[in-house]
C-alpha cells in the first residue's frame, strides 16, 4: 500500500558552488515520482537555472547521484515516498567531491582513484586468441561476478567517512573494482595492482564502516571486497610478493 501522501513536498535544494545556500521550493507530489522527477520539476516549472545531472534515468549510468535528506542516493531510482521526511526533502550534490554547481559534483577524483587502484583490465591475450574457458562455478568467477555490476555512481564514495577524512584513500568503488580483477583469472596485472592497493591510499585505510555496503544502490558489498583485498595483500606481503 502506498501511504497517503501530502499534496506537495517542501524541497530544499543546494544552489551555487561550495559557498552556496539551500533554497526552498514547493513541488506537487505524484504517485509515481522519483527524486530526479522532483528536481526536474523545479528546473522546468520553478527555476530554469537549476543544474543537475542525469542520463539513463533507469539506474544504469550512475550520473544522477545526489545527497537526499542526508544520504547519498541514485535519484532516478529513489521513489519520493521512500525518502521524504515530515513532508520535506533536502537535496544537495554528492559529498566528498568538488561541487560544480547546484546539484552537480565533479566526479574526476573518483575516477582518478579508480585508476590509482589500477582498476582496469591488463590483457594476457589478444583479439587473435579464442576466449578463455572459465567455469561459471569456479570460486574466482563467482567472487568476481558478485562485485562486478558497479555503475560507478559514487554513492559509496560519498557515504564513506574514511574518504572524507583522508584525501588519499582510494575509496570503496575503486577497491571493489580492483577486487574483481584480482579474481579475474584472465588478468595479467595483479602483481602491480596488489602493490597499488597495498600502498598508502589503499585498502588498509578502510575501517569497515560499511556505509558503502548499506547504501550501494546496486546492492554490492564493497566492504567484503575490501576485506578480500586486505587478506590477499597481506598474504602477498608476507610472502614478499609486493613490489
Amino acid at each position: 500500500m502506498t501511504p497517503e501522501v501530502a499534496e506537495t513536498v517542501e524541497v530544499s535544494l543546494w544552489r551555487g558552488r561550495e559557498d552556496g545556500r539551500y533554497q526552498t521550493f514547493t513541488v506537487p507530489l505524484r504517485q509515481s515520482q522519483t527524486v530526479l522527477d522532483i528536481v526536474t520539476w523545479v528546473q522546468r516549472h520553478a527555476d530554469p537555472t537549476l543544474s543537475y545531472r542525469f542520463a539513463c534515468r533507469v539506474g544504469v549510468c550512475g550520473s544522477c547521484a545526489m545527497t537526499v535528506n542526508g544520504k547519498p542516493r541514485w535519484t532516478c531510482r529513489t521513489h519520493v515516498s521512500k525518502v521524504v521526511d515530515d513532508g520535506k526533502l533536502e537535496i544537495g550534490p554528492l559529498a566528498n567531491l568538488p561541487v560544480i554547481k547546484d546539484l552537480t559534483a565533479d566526479m574526476a577524483p573518483f575516477f582518478e582513484k579508480w585508476q590509482k587502484a589500477e582498476g582496469r583490465f591488463v590483457p594476457s591475450q589478444t583479439r587473435a586468441d579464442n576466449l578463455a574457458v572459465v567455469s561459471p562455478e569456479s570460486a574466482e568467477r563467482r567472487t568476481a561476478d558478485a562485485a562486478i555490476e558497479c555503475i560507478n555512481c559514487g554513492v559509496c564514495y560519498a557515504a564513506c567517512d574514511t574518504v572524507r577524512w583522508n584525501d588519499s584513500y582510494m575509496g570503496p568503488a575503486a577497491l571493489n573494482r580492483a577486487w574483481t580483477l584480482v579474481n579475474d583469472v584472465r588478468d595479467a596485472g595483479n602483481r602491480s595492482r596488489l602493490s597499488a592497493v597495498a600502498s598508502d591510499g589503499g585498502c588498509h585505510n578502510c575501517h569497515s564502516h560499511q556505509s558503502c555496503e548499506q547504501l550501494c544502490p546496486a546492492n554490492l558489498n564493497p566492504t567484503a571486497s575490501i576485506a578480500g583485498l586486505k587478506r590477499r595483500t597481506m598474504q602477498a606481503y608476507i610472502k614478499g610478493e609486493l613490489g
Binding site: 583522508n166 588519499s168 597495498a198 600502498s199 598508502d200 597481506m234 608476507i238 609486493l242
Partner: protein, 109 residues
C-alpha cells in the same frame, strides 16, 4: 596506512586479545582479594614468566597504539602523513619507555 602498518597493527591486536583476557582475569582475581602493592609485587617480583608476558604486552601495545594514533591524527587531526609519523613515533617512544620502566619496576622491585 599501508600494508606494513596494517599488518603490524592487526597482528599486535590479535596478540593482545589473549594477553588482555589474561590480564583482566588476573585483575578480577586480584581485586577480589583487595588490591595491595605487596600482593601485586609478590606475584610479579623476579618472575621471568611475568616479565616476558608484560614486556610482550608493552611492545604490542606500543606498536598497536602508535599506529592507531597515527591514523587518528591523520583522519581526525588533519595531519599530513609525515607529521602523523612523528606523532606515531612520539607515542610509541613514550609507551615503550614508560611501559618497560613499569615492567622493570614490578619485576625487579
Amino acid at each position: 596506512m599501508n600494508v606494513r602498518l596494517y599488518f603490524l597493527q592487526r597482528a599486535t591486536a590479535m596478540l593482545m586479545v589473549p594477553l588482555i583476557i589474561v590480564h583482566v582475569v588476573v585483575i578480577f582475581y586480584a581485586t577480589r582479594r583487595g588490591l595491595s602493592a605487596a600482593e601485586i609485587l609478590s606475584r610479579t617480583r623476579g618472575s621471568l614468566g611475568w616479565a616476558t608476558y608484560y614486556s610482550l604486552f608493552v611492545i604490542a601495545a606500543t606498536v598497536h597504539a602508535g599506529i592507531g594514533v597515527r591514523t587518528v591524527s591523520i583522519e581526525w587531526g588533519g595531519l599530513r602523513p609525515r607529521s602523523a609519523d612523528a606523532v606515531m613515533w612520539g607515542m610509541g617512544f613514550a609507551l615503550l619507555v614508560l611501559g618497560l620502566r613499569a615492567v622493570t619496576a614490578v619485576v625487579l622491585a
